[in-house]
Subunit: 268 residues, 2 copies
């Protein structure tokens, strides 16, 4: 058989080999198997990763829609997902979006001008960011440690959540009464004021913290009671911003509530 004849016979085989990767297996089992295995593993890794992202996105939705509650830590398999969300662009984009939604709503309102129109803000993960703390505690992977957390709070260096600071200024500027309603203890009033001012917040009308009596209450109850007192005093609660559903739900709810994202922890 001549070379050209051999080539002629090989050509269809050759072009087949170039155009249909999967067919090689029949011709050259060994190197092919290695390549095939690599690809399979990569594909498996990728689809495993996609599967985890799918599940963790679903988990995050159930958390943000308040279907999943209570919960103590983020699912272990979502550790990377949550970290990527928080440190990547997702969290920032969500914060900006909710701030814009709230600002658009605030701008659409005509205030009565009697000083009774109120906007409520929660503090932690709403006005102030504790990410420098949570970065060292797995972004919600570790069970909440109140002693360690209080040490962080006492430093009074929590940075502002910038989109919230923008909304805050907008709301203050439009003449809303601004009430800060936080689960922080009354014993942390001074340090909280110091931190808020350092972070650029000012001109709030009232800062409401938990008194000793309030400590046994669930956040939902404590905050509902405080909103109830506002309503009794004739205030109209038009807007409420918080990262926890316990900031927003319960009695004497605001006309509109704005849920900031927080896949790191849950407060009942």
């Amino acid at each position: 058989m001549s070379f050209s004849r051999a080539l002629f016979l090989l050509f269809p085989l050759l072009s087949l080999a170039f155009s249909h990767e999967n067919l090689d297996t029949h011709l050259l089992p060994r190197p092919l198997i290695i390549e095939y295995t690599d690809k399979v593993e990569t594909h498996l890794e990728e689809s495993k990763e996609e599967e985890v992202i799918l599940r963790c996105t679903s988990w995050r939705f159930s958390v943000e829609a308040n279907n999943h509650n209570p919960w103590k830590t983020i699912p272990e398999e979502c550790a990377e997902y949550v970290r990527d969300y928080i440190t990547g662009r997702g969290y920032g984009m969500d914060l900006q979006r909710v701030s814009k939604e709230a600002a658009d709503y605030a701008k659409s309102l005509e205030l009565a001008g009697d000083g009774k129109d109120v906007w409520i803000f929660d503090i932690d993960e709403t006005l102030l960011s504790n990410l420098p703390y949570y970065a060292h505690h797995g972004y919600g992977l570790e069970i909440f440690d109140p002693v360690e957390f209080d040490k962080w709070v006492d430093k009074a260096i929590a940075p502002p959540i910038e989109p919230s600071l923008e909304l805050y200024k907008e709301v203050v500027g439009r003449g809303f009464k601004v009430f800060l309603l936080t689960g922080r203890s009354e014993s942390r009033r001074k340090i909280t004021v110091e931190n808020l001012i350092n972070a650029g917040f000012q001109d709030w009308d009232e800062l409401i913290l938990r008194s000793t009596d309030d400590h046994v209450k669930l956040a939902t109850i404590f905050k509902s009671e405080k909103r109830g007192e506002m309503v009794k005093e004739g205030y109209r609660i038009l807007g409420n911003s918080g990262d926890q559903w316990s900031d927003l739900l319960g009695a004497s709810m605001s006309t509109r509530s704005f849920k900031l994202p927080n896949p790191m922890y849950y407060i009942p």
Copy 2:
């Protein structure tokens, strides 16, 4: 040259071609340039696509957390994202998750046994799926057309949302009074009953539709009023499942509410 000799010479070329796809490029410059351009374009396409996915995920969360409202259609750039979510595994996974969360909660309750413990279900996109309709209307990209939609409703062929059917059976089986509270018109009672039964739902205690008087009311108001009547009659609303926040929020709210995903449309 013998055939075996020709094969021997061809073998390195053949195995090179199989194992290092990219090396061919040195041999064949022209397609290489094209390939390079393709790659750059592919990367640009990919990062543009990632950007859209990021924005649309953010949009979806703002919808599901009720920050974004009202809205008439999905953002145009999210058409593909929403379709992929609905027809892919995301929507199904989210439906299963919320059904499980609700079932876990239902199982955790001890009913009084006086027949006054209630679970409320919305119908459209909660018990029955209108996906066959929305598949022909861009999954929320088109403005809602009530005339066309009613034609679909009148066919009475909407399939059940399977995870909701499971929850429904669980709740009925545990002895809850089941009230179906829907924005559908009273004129559609017969066809709705027919559809529900065809889809596997049975043994509900009451089916509440909108009367002529109710048509001017926002869904939130209509549903709040109906829940108010239940409470007046001594019922305890322990669970409420709906795909719209107007199913869940307002007065006489349920002890726990379960928000099913729905990025296709919004009802105030």
